[in-house]
Amino acid sequence: MTGIRRTGEVLLKRSGQALGVALAVSILCFVVVQRLPGDVSYRIAAGRYGYDLVDNAAAAAVAAELGLDRPAWQQFGSWLAALAQGDLGRSLVTSRPVGEELAFYLLGTLQLTGAALLVAILIGGSVGVLAARHPGSLVDHLATTWVASVRALPPFLLGLLLVLVFSVQLGWLPAVGHGNSTSLVLPAMTLGLGLSGLVARVTRETVINVWSSSYVQFAHTRGIRERLVLLRHVLRNSAVVLVPYLGAQAILLIEGVIVVESLFAWQGLGHALVHAVFWRDIPMLQATALALALLVVSLNTVVDLIVLRLDPRPRRAGALA
C-alpha cells in the first residue's frame, strides 16, 4: 500500500513540475526567438525556398501568410491557446503538422539515447566492476586509462574515428543513415563510449564501497558464493547510487546528441532543434524545446520510481511512521 502511495506521490509531484517547466520553457523560448538577430520572415523563406530564391517579395509573402507582423504577445497567445487544445501547429518551413514531425524526431532521439545508455552501462559497468575487484592492479590502471581517453575525445572526433575503423576500413557498418538497425550502431557507440568512462569510474568507486561494507562481509561469512554476493548484494546496492547518476548523465547526453545526430545524419530532436533555430521555425522550435524539457522531467520521474523499487528503506520508513 505504502509503495503505491509513494509512487503516486512521486507522479503527482513530477506532473506539477512538468507543467511548470513546460510553461517556463515555452515563454523563455518565445522571448529568446524574438530577441535573436535577423528578420524572421527572411529566415523562414530561406528554409522554404532555398537561398537562391529568397528575396524581399518571398519574405513579404511569408510574413503576410503567417501573420508575423502581429505583435509578439498575440502570436504567443494564439500558440498557447492552440497548445491547450493539444494542437502544436504547423511547421513554418515545411507546412506539416508539428505533432507528426515531433513524434518522428522524438522516436529517433529516444532510440539513440536508449542505445547509447545501454552501451555505456554495459561497457562502463563491466570495466568498473573489473577495476573494483582488483584495485591498484594492472586492470585498474588500464581502466583508468580507458576512462581518461574516452572522456577526453570529443564526440565529433570519436564518431569520425569509429566511422574510419568500422565503416571505411572494415566495411562492417554503414557510415551514416537513419532507418535500419545497423545505422544506429555507430552513433550509439559514439555517445555510449563517451559516457562509459564516467560510468566506469562511478561504478568502480561504488562497488569498492559496497564490497567493503559490513553486509557484504556478512554475506561472505555466511558462505554465499561470490557470484551470488555480487548479483544479490553488491550490484543491487550499487544500483541505488548508479541509477540516479545515470539519470543525470542521460540528460547530459542530449547535448552530445546534437553533434552526433548531425554527423551521422540520424534524425532526432537535436538535429531538428538546430534547424528550427537556424530557420526561425517558431512552432517547431517551441515544440522541440518543450519535448526536451518534458523528457528531462520524465527521466527524473523514471529514476525516482526505479530507486523507489530498488531501495526499500524509504518504503519501510513510511510503514513505520
Binding site: 529568397v54 518551413v93 551514416v176 545524419a265
Partner: protein
C-alpha cells in the same frame, strides 16, 4: 563473479556490430543507385521542394534544358507563340501521370496556376492573365510580352503534378508526376526512394531504383564516397575530394557551373558608392591564390563576372581582373583617403573599415570571406566578417544596412541567363544582385534584349551590359564555381548537368 564482466563487453560488441550489418547493405547495393547530397527534403510542394523531384525525374517541367543550357522539349513536345503574349505548349498524346490518369492540358494548367501565385517561383514574376488547357495543349495569355517564358518553364517550381497530388486544403500530399521514375517513399527530411514507372512513355531507364539520402556533414559524405557506401555523392569539400580521389573505384566528375562567387556592394554607401574604392577592393584580391587555397583550382579565379560556360555573356576581350596593390593604393588616394603610419586609411578623421555578410550553406564562402579579410588587411582596410543565415543578405539589402555581401549567384536559374542578368541589374536593385546601382545604358540594353533583340544587335547589347558591369563593379567577382560529384565505378553513362535541371539518371546504367 567473472562471468558477467568477462562476457558483457564482447557480447555487446558482437551484438551491436555483427547483427545484421553486411547482408542488408549488400542486398541494397544490387538494386538501387544511392545518391547522397547535402540538402534536406522539406516539402513535397513544387516551389518548396528544392528541385528534388525534377532532379530525380519524377516530375517534368514543360520545357527541358540540355547540358549546354539549350532549351529542349520537356513534358511539352513543342511550343509556339502567336503574338508575344499568347503561347501554346503542345502535350504528347501518350503521357500519363503515375496514378494512371492521362496528362491533359487542363491538369497541366491547374498545376501551373497553383505555382504562378507563389512569390518565390520565377513564374510569379510574369504577368499572367490566364493559363488554360484543352485535351493536348496548354495556353498562356500574358499581360505583357515575355520572350523568356519557355526558359522560365524549365525552373523546377513549374513542375507538373497530377490533380490527385493535392488534398482539399491545397497541400501536396503525394508527388504524382509524369516522369520516368515514381516516388516510392519519402522520409522527411532525410531520404527519398523512387523506382522506374512502367507506364513511362519513353525508353525504360536501365537503373530501376534510386535512393537519395541527405547527409549534412561534408566529412561524412566524403567517407561514404570513399568506402563504397554511395554511388553518387554531391557537394564534396576540397579536403574530402582529395580523400575520394585517392580511393579506388571512385571517380571525381565535375563541370563548370554558371555560378559566380561574388561580393555584392552597397552602391549608396558613403565609402563604397565611389567606383574607385570598389576597383581598389577588387585590385586587393589575389584571386588565383584564393581559388587555389579554397577551391583547390587556380582556373576558377574569376577574371570577369560571368563564367566562360555562358559564352554569350562572357567576353574574352575584357581585361582580366587581377591583383595590383600599388594600383589599389593609388585609387584610394585618388578617392581622398590617406594612408596612416599604421597602414590604415583615413578620410576626414574616419577610418576605412567595412563589414561583410556571408553564409555557410556553401562551405567555400566562409573560407573565402577569411581570405578576403586577409587581402583587405594587406591593403590596410579592416573588414568585419559575419557568417550567418543567407537571408541576412536580402534583409540587409531591404533595410540598406548591408555593406558587402559575399554570395554565390547562379546565372542560369532558368536556362536563359538573360532572365537572371535582367534581375541582377534591375534598375531598382536585386536581392542577390546589384544594390543601389544603376546605369541607364545597361537598363536600355537589357530592355531591348527582353523585347527580343537578336543576332548582332543582341550581341551589341550584351557587350554593353558586360563592359559597364566590368568597369563599374557593382558586383565584385571573386571566383567561378565548379560543381563536382564522386561517382562510383559501377555506374556507367553518368553525365553531369551543370545546370542540375535533372541528375540525368534515367540515362545512366550499371557498369557491365
Amino acid at each position: 563473479m567473472r562471468i558477467p564482466a568477462r562476457l558483457a563487453a564482447p557480447l555487446l560488441t558482437a551484438a551491436l556490430l555483427a547483427a545484421t550489418g553486411c547482408t542488408a547493405t549488400a542486398e541494397e547495393r544490387s538494386e538501387a543507385l544511392r545518391i547522397v547530397g547535402p540538402f534536406e527534403v522539406h516539402s513535397l510542394d513544387p516551389a518548396t521542394s528544392q528541385a528534388f523531384f525534377t532532379r530525380l525525374e519524377v516530375a517534368e517541367t514543360l520545357v527541358g534544358a540540355d547540358i549546354n543550357g539549350e532549351l529542349v522539349p520537356g513534358l511539352a513536345t513543342e511550343w509556339t507563340h502567336e503574338s508575344h503574349t499568347t503561347w501554346t505548349f503542345e502535350l504528347p498524346h501518350d503521357a500519363e501521370f503515375h496514378d494512371g490518369t492521362p496528362v491533359t492540358g487542363d491538369a497541366v494548367a491547374a498545376s501551373l496556376a497553383k505555382v504562378a501565385d507563389v512569390e518565390a517561383s520565377p513564374l510569379s514574376a510574369i504577368g499572367i492573365d490566364a493559363i488554360t488547357g484543352d485535351e493536348h495543349s496548354v495556353r498562356f495569355e500574358l499581360t505583357e510580352p515575355f520572350l523568356t517564358l519557355p526558359a522560365t518553364l524549365t525552373h523546377y517550381s513549374t513542375m507538373v503534378l497530377a490533380p490527385s497530388s493535392w488534398d482539399e486544403d491545397g497541400h501536396v500530399t503525394d508527388v504524382i508526376g509524369s516522369g520516368p521514375y515514381q516516388v516510392d517513399h519519402v522520409e522527411f527530411p532525410g531520404s527519398i526512394e523512387v523506382s522506374a514507372y512502367d507506364g513511362w512513355r519513353g525508353e525504360a531507364p536501365a537503373i530501376e531504383r534510386l535512393t537519395f539520402q541527405s547527409v549534412s556533414r561534408p566529412e561524412s559524405r566524403a567517407l561514404m564516397a570513399a568506402s563504397d557506401q554511395a554511388d553518387i555523392v554531391f557537394g564534396l569539400e576540397p579536403a574530402g575530394r582529395q580523400r575520394v580521389e585517392a580511393a579506388p573505384n571512385v571517380e571525381m566528375v565535375s563541370a563548370l557551373q554558371p555560378r559566380t562567387l561574388l561580393l555584392k556592394v552597397n552602391g549608396d554607401h558613403p565609402v563604397l558608392g565611389d567606383p574607385r574604392v570598389r576597383l581598389a577592393l577588387s585590385k586587393a584580391l589575389d584571386r588565383p591564390g584564393m581559388a587555389t587555397a579554397v577551391l583547390r583550382e587556380d582556373d576558377l579565379a574569376a577574371t570577369q563576372l560571368i563564367p566562360p560556360s555562358l559564352s554569350a555573356w562572357h567576353d574574352e576581350a575584357l581585361e582580366p581582373l587581377t591583383q595590383d596593390l600599388d594600383g589599389a593604393r593609388d585609387l584610394l588616394a585618388e578617392a581622398g583617403w590617406e594612408q596612416q603610419s599604421d597602414g590604415s586609411w583615413q578620410r576626414d578623421g574616419e577610418t576605412l573599415r567595412l563589414s561583410l555578410v556571408t553564409y555557410p550553406d556553401r562551405a567555400e564562402l566562409p573560407a573565402l570571406a577569411t581570405a578576403i579579410q586577409a587581402a583587405f588587411a594587406e591593403l590596410g582596410i579592416g573588414l568585419d566578417v559575419n557568417v550567418t543565415n543567407s537571408s541576412e543578405i536580402p534583409a540587409g539589402h531591404a533595410d540598406g544596412t548591408l555593406e558587402l555581401g559575399l554570395l554565390a549567384r547562379h546565372f542560369a536559374l532558368v536556362s536563359d541567363p538573360l532572365v537572371t542578368v535582367a534581375d541582377t541589374f534591375a534598375p531598382e536593385g536585386s536581392d542577390w544582385g546589384a544594390m543601389n546601382w544603376h546605369d541607364d545604358e545597361v537598363g536600355a540594353a537589357i530592355t531591348a534584349l527582353l523585347r527580343g533583340a537578336e543576332g548582332a544587335e543582341g550581341e551589341e547589347h550584351r557587350r554593353t551590359v558586360v563592359e559597364a558591369v566590368h568597369e563599374e563593379l557593382p558586383l565584385i567577382p571573386v571566383a567561378w564555381y565548379r560543381m563536382n560529384a564522386a561517382v562510383n565505378s559501377r555506374v556507367a553513362d553518368f553525365v553531369m548537368d551543370p545546370l542540375e535541371h535533372t541528375w540525368r539518371l534515367s540515362g545512366a546504367s550499371w557498369q557491365q
